[in-house]
């Protein structure tokens, strides 16, 4: 694929890997967090870990939108899906996220009309085609997907669609990062910034990380060369004693972000005072609800939901894993109560989460080192 394959060139990758090796201090252990789940996926898909020196460790951040949805919200979604006449729509990878008892996939097996969509606009189309049914869209994601939900709601309003509504679970990336950075036992040396989020919000919201916490941030693209280069840039900052926001993804991310998208979001959404994150607990002003002007499309107002908070089990230590304080296997429930088949915490829910990856491949990773 033109304009993409150039960023997947193995020889160039080796060259950057060699530069990374020359940049690290062999006596130091580096922990770099990739904030975004999209980066985690690329790192896994291209085997980028494997190209790094053993003392450069990548820590998967809180930026996987499906993994951070708390069980109570999934339960609410399932309750709405079971309402008579409801067509419940969501993104594909939301279907297997566990609530307190079931997943949406299981709700579908029990008779709920749950449909996978690729875009909120697909949900809107389903609403137009089924005027006698209530169509609900379970909106999730960071600032990356929020604008498309916002535009969809604007369109629904313009068309006067009365059978469409939305469960808004949109979250914002800066508050959880701040929560992580506030932690006194933080062990992270630098951050790979979330390129997709930055196309919307720009680079500026991340300046607090070097300014207040003295850690470098490099906003990165999603191709393997982008990520390797961003790691190199972070290591160079660390070696030079610098900490600033650098933009590796200049070809897509403007410093000021996408003003039109931000404007639409401001019109359709309002900040929630607080929101619960799976594994991280409540974080204030970290999520969006529909604004008063769009309240008529708010599924949480239209349908009765249990709205019961389901606490993460006390023993779950996802927060510490995310902060890099403990390794997955040091968590009290890892491998016993919490497994990929019966995940408790966010790090085990997604196959790319730190705990799931260790559960599946930890043994192999050790073997690889022994070779």
């Amino acid at each position: 694929m033109k304009y993409v394959d150039e960023y997947r060139d193995a020889q160039l990758g080796q060259a950057v890997a060699t530069q990374i090796l020359s940049e690290v201090d062999p006596d130091r252990h580096y922990k770099v967090m990739e904030v975004c789940g999209g980066h985690t996926h690329s790192i896994y898909k291209y085997g980028i870990d494997d190209l790094l020196p053993a003392n450069v460790e990548l820590v998967h951040g809180p930026g996987c939108p499906v993994c951070v949805i708390p069980m109570g919200r999934v339960d609410d979604g399932i309750a709405i899906a079971h309402h008579d006449g409801v067509i419940f729509t969501c993104f594909g990878d939301m279907m297997r996220v566990p609530g307190s008892e079931h997943t949406l996939l299981e709700a579908k097996a029990q008779g709920a009309d749950v449909r996978m969509v690729y875009s909120p606009l697909d949900a809107l189309r389903i609403a137009r085609e089924n005027p006698d049914r209530e169509v609900v869209f379970f909106a999730i994601g960071f600032e990356t997907t929020a604008p498309s939900t916002a535009l969809t709601l604007k369109r629904a309003k313009a068309e006067g669609l009365r059978n469409f509504s939305c469960v808004c679970n949109h979250v914002t990336i800066v508050p959880p990062l701040r929560a992580l950075l506030e932690s006194p036992d933080l062990r992270l040396d630098g951050f790979i910034g979330p390129g997709h989020v930055c196309t919307v919000v720009g680079a500026r919201p991340f300046h607090f990380i070097p300014a207040d916490y003295g850690r470098p941030v490099v906003i990165s693209g999603f191709e393997p060369l982008d990520i390797l280069q961003s790691i190199l840039m972070i290591l160079r900052q660390l070696r030079g004693g610098r900490h600033e926001v650098e933009n590796q993804y200049r070809r897509v991310v403007p410093d000021e972000g996408n003003l039109r998208a931000l404007q639409v979001m401001a019109e359709v959404f309002a900040l929630r005072p607080h929101f619960e994150w799976r594994g991280l607990g409540f974080i204030s002003q970290s999520a969006l609800r529909l604004s008063d002007a769009y309240a008529e499309f708010d599924a949480e107002q239209r349908f009765a939901t249990p709205s019961v908070r389901v606490a993460d089990p006390k023993a779950c230590q996802c927060g510490e894993v995310l902060k890099g304080v403990i390794k997955p296997w040091e968590c009290k429930v890892f491998g016993t109560a919490c497994t990929p088949e019966h995940a408790i915490g966010t790090c085990m829910v997604s196959p790319e989460g730190a705990c799931a990856a260790y559960y599946n491949f930890g043994r192999y990773a050790r073997q690889r080192e022994a070779v």
Binding site: M1, D9, G47, A109, D122, T144, K327, Y364, V371
Partner: protein
């Protein structure tokens, strides 16, 4: 890089203990504990495995079944036969490159071919939905007849049932097939040996991609046709060229090449290494899969096989395979290693390595 790079500290006792717990859990036989059937149980991944290995195999207690081959072996009057059944519930019924009727013949013919048997006879059972237009049925009956003729197999029996409207998606087909196992065949799911080369018979992911696009869920148009075809000519060529050096054949249907490789790595207790850059894949399939956020290695094929051939016979086998019509783009994509047992590793085209695991259910598109 490992020689020059610093190494991680050795595992602590606690980590060793946790790894041991995981190993013990993984080694346990799959148990079927789900409250209800979900679509994941039909997707060919881990959920399907728990259904088959946790419920069906223990209940039926057949030794032949335990081998988990594409077809079961039966000996009647000294003759080695292979026998198999397959059901077809595809939607839409017709799609670019094929239709349910063609799949129903080729699917069963291919399961037999993977056991080293040329299909001799098939039965076809049809479950028809009230209201199905006769033209649609007629077209599928003709498709079945054509595919059977192309595969040189006789249709010797069948059944028809009609269910009320809404209880079937137009029509469901189920075929059973039988054939004599070729005397050259020494195929087994447990037959993979270190050094074996892994061959695929052509570009992967075309059938599943064609179906996904034909469902019209996405505003995406691409010229992709199903790869459905009889794989007996390919199996025949491999048997003829490699004989006993051909250790295993498998058609990479639901769950795709990745699921097949995982099943066989487990069944044989070996490790597999796949060179991603060598896996043949049409640019249009790669592009569609990337847009949909799906790995083509997990996409279903209906006319592609994976073969395991002893190293010394592999070059000849690949050449023979490429001479078969439809297999011109066959390729060697990796090899069998002793370690790590039960796991499939990928050398990525970018130069890294990763584990290619079995999925739980259908590959679900990612949001980011």
């Amino acid at each position: 890089m490992s020689e020059s790079a610093p190494t991680r500290p050795p595992p602590t006792d606690r980590e060793q203990r946790v790894l041991q717990i995981i190993e013990t859990a993984r080694a346990k036989r799959a148990r079927f504990r789900d409250d209800q059937i979900t679509l994941a149980h039909g997707a060919g991944g881990k959920a399907t495995q728990t259904l088959i290995e946790g419920l069906l195999v223990p209940a039926f207690g057949s030794e032949t079944l335990q081998a988990l081959g594409d077809a079961g072996g039966v000996t009647i009057g000294g003759a080695r036969l292979a026998m198999t059944a397959d059901s077809f519930v595809v939607s839409p019924l017709r799609f670019p490159g094929g239709s349910i009727g063609e799949l129903a013949v080729n699917g069963t013919v291919n399961d037999l071919a993977m056991a080293g048997a040329k299909a001799t006879a098939l039965t076809v059972a049809m479950i028809l939905e009230e209201g199905l237009p006769s033209d649609v049925l007629r077209a599928e009956v003709e498709a079945i007849a054509r595919a059977a003729q192309a595969a040189e197999v006789e249709i010797v029996g069948g059944d028809t049932k009609v269910v009320p409207r809404g209880l079937a998606d137009g029509m469901y087909l189920s075929t059973t097939g039988v054939g004599a196992v070729d005397p050259r065949a020494r195929l087994s799911t447990a037959g993979l040996r270190s050094g074996d080369q892994i061959l695929v018979s052509g570009p992967i992911g075309e059938h599943g991609t064609a179906i996904m696009l034909a469902r019209d869920q996405f505003d995406l148009d691409a010229e992709v046709e199903s790869d459905t075809c009889s794989l007996w000519p390919a199996a025949d060529a491999l048997l003829g060229c490699a004989g006993e050096a051909l250790h295993c054949l498998r058609d990479a249907t639901r769950g795709g090449v990745a699921s097949v490789l995982n099943e066989l790595a487990r069944a044989s207790g070996v490790g597999l290494v796949v060179r991603e850059a060598d896996v043949p894949i049409a640019p249009v399939v790669a592009a569609a899969a990337e847009l949909l956020g799906i790995d083509p290695m997990y996409i279903a094929n209906e006319g592609r096989l994976v073969a395991f051939v002893a190293r010394e016979a592999a070059d000849g086998a690949l050449a023979a395979l490429r001479r078969v019509a439809g297999c011109e783009e066959a390729a060697a994509i990796g090899e069998v290693r002793p370690e790590p047992p039960g796991m499939v590793m990928v050398q990525t085209a970018f130069g890294g390595r990763r584990v290619m695991d079995q999925l739980v259910g259908d590959p679900l598109p990612r949001i980011c």
